[in-house]
Subunit: 140 residues, 2 copies
DNA sequence: ATAAACATTGAACTATACTACAGGGTCAAG
DNA sequence: CTTGACCCTGTAGTATAGTTCAATGTTTAT
């Protein structure tokens, strides 16, 4: 027994069956081989691909961005230099996201502390969290 | 001259005018005072609020989640303990996101290295990036 | 062998988050 | 005092990411 039916795959990846078919239409997962009775039979590894998509979506990437991320490895019509260039750009995006999340986390930690009655805490740590760097660029 | 018209505010925050009115309808920003001629007049600080919303959206939070985040400070009908509890939960979410992004970044760095012809690199670092921890919980 | 649980397609429907009018009023410059 | 850039409300349309449904075929368990 090799391969997963769409239901097994969906369950393993924690997504809906319809979502799997939707991702196939969108080109996020490859069309799998079919059984004699026309059932899709997925390689086990597609569960990881689906889980990746799920997490990446949770991290604010659109399906199109995720498609790009997944196509970075083995892109046949792209030079190594081009792949490297695009990869470095993605890394920068991600670095920025990590940075923003870290600031948000700090703000929430400061808020949690304020809840203990320990103070003094800034009046509005959450808003401050992500605004500081803008000021440096824009000078408002 | 105190306060920003909706157009000035939108420009300062880097969003569309319609978006500002939409966020007002959704309860993400407060209804501002109006001029005699019924124009909205926003406090300067609302630009920061809008920028926060923009960034948080980019980090994968929905408008509803963002609303919750913004209401954590000064929630009148909630005990300090309750606010603290919800805040700690948000911090965990964020910690998880940072973790996932870090793994993704590592994977892309490994991919970028592979582009230099330095090797050997894993065949599929991107998929591996986010799948490892699942295995530990599910034992597949 | 028959019912329950699963699979197929295609099309319609939903939620979220905007975005674009239409039809009007306001304001600042020349 | 008009022209253009701005604002108002309300409604309708769009993009993204699914979700549901109908009508039908297949597999599995009793």
């Amino acid at each position: 027994m090799n391969g997963l039916t769409i239901g097994k795959l969906a369950k393993k990846a924690g997504v809906g069956i319809e979502t799997v078919r939707f991702y196939e239409r969108q080109g996020l997962i490859a069309e799998p081989p079919r059984t004699a009775s026309n059932y899709r039979l997925y390689p086990e590894n597609d569960a990881n691909r689906l889980r990746f998509i799920k997490k990446a979506k949770n991290l604010g990437f659109t399906l199109n961005e995720i498609k790009e991320l997944l196509s970075l490895r083995h892109d046949p019509k792209a030079s190594k230099a081009d792949v490297k260039h695009r990869t470095l750009k993605k890394i920068e995006d991600i670095q920025q996201k990590i940075h923003d999340l870290s600031r948000m986390k700090e703000a929430l930690e400061s808020l949690a502390e304020a809840c203990d009655g320990h103070g003094p805490t800034s009046e509005c740590p959450i808003l401050e969290a992500l605004e500081a760097e803008e000021k440096q660029y824009c000078g408002h």
